[in-house]
Symmetry: D2
Subunit: 98 residues, 4 copies
């Protein structure tokens, strides 16, 4: 099952500057071989369900290993059986109607 | 790694009455042996990360098997290493301060 | 326009114990005269769109006034024109199918 | 109060092809004079709180006026008092650490 997900990881208890923690997560998602698109409030990820979820779990584990005591993440996940669709397809399907 | 999650599954392409689909997901989460709390915009779930994520994937697969062509879900997930905490603990930590 | 919302406010930069901040938000939502249901990962709120959004903004402003330097919130919001529905209706429409 | 938000609007009860509805929302956000970044699972928006929330409400109202009977949206919202930050700043703060 393919999934398009949007992941936003919020480390808690390590102050207000979170960019270096988010960068660690980005590297994990890239190393997992996922199609990625970083935006201003999360990251679009495209891949097989288990592959995406494995990488997402790795992010939580890596941040805790770095000393982050608490993490609150949010994910949006879309699956569909009617047709194949990529992140690029989704963006194009909106932009061509603007 | 323990997780407290809040899951909201939105079936798309099957009209506006979604209660019967959500009930299927509730049964899957219950059968997975998870601590649950159904509320008005999702379900709190408490358990081991892999157990929660396995059950969540089962929800998507079950709905697609029922003929739902598209699903858009959102999850909030919290993990922490500083101490053990249950859904009940989280609610109590707010209510005792009201 | 009526809305059923689920609000989760995450204060950042004030350590890992967030219950007292969430309690401040609960009081603001209660004082706004909204129907509420606190759960383990947010709060269900029911009311007129502007009333809900006004109270939600008041939460952000009150926490910043208390010294919280950064806040990351997530909301789910549902509106519908086909029929009136309350938080209780939504829960019942699932539970009666279990 | 400035806010950076990420908005994802999901029309329900109008089938599985949602691009044309999302395009209507994009136009509303653009016409509101907001800084925007459309991605594969939502749209980043930057502006004054009331301006962002007004435009978001306009999206719900416009879709209902087009005949969408039910809408389920999710928003992430960030506010901070420690410093000014744009969507571009947030992305750069991660990318420079990759």
């Amino acid at each position: 099952m393919k999934v398009i997900a949007d992941i936003c990881v919020v480390p808690i208890g390590v102050g207000v500057s979170l960019g270096s923690y988010i960068a660690v997560c980005e590297k994990i998602l890239i190393d997992a071989g996922l199609q990625l698109h970083l935006h201003g409030y999360g990251t679009n990820v495209e891949g097989e369900w288990d592959q995406v979820m494995r990488a997402f779990k790795d992010c939580h584990e890596a941040l805790h290993d770095m000393g982050v005591p608490r993490i609150s993440s949010t994910i949006r996940l879309g699956t569909r059986t009617d047709r194949e669709q990529t992140i690029e397809d989704k963006i194009r399907s909106v932009e061509e109607k603007l």
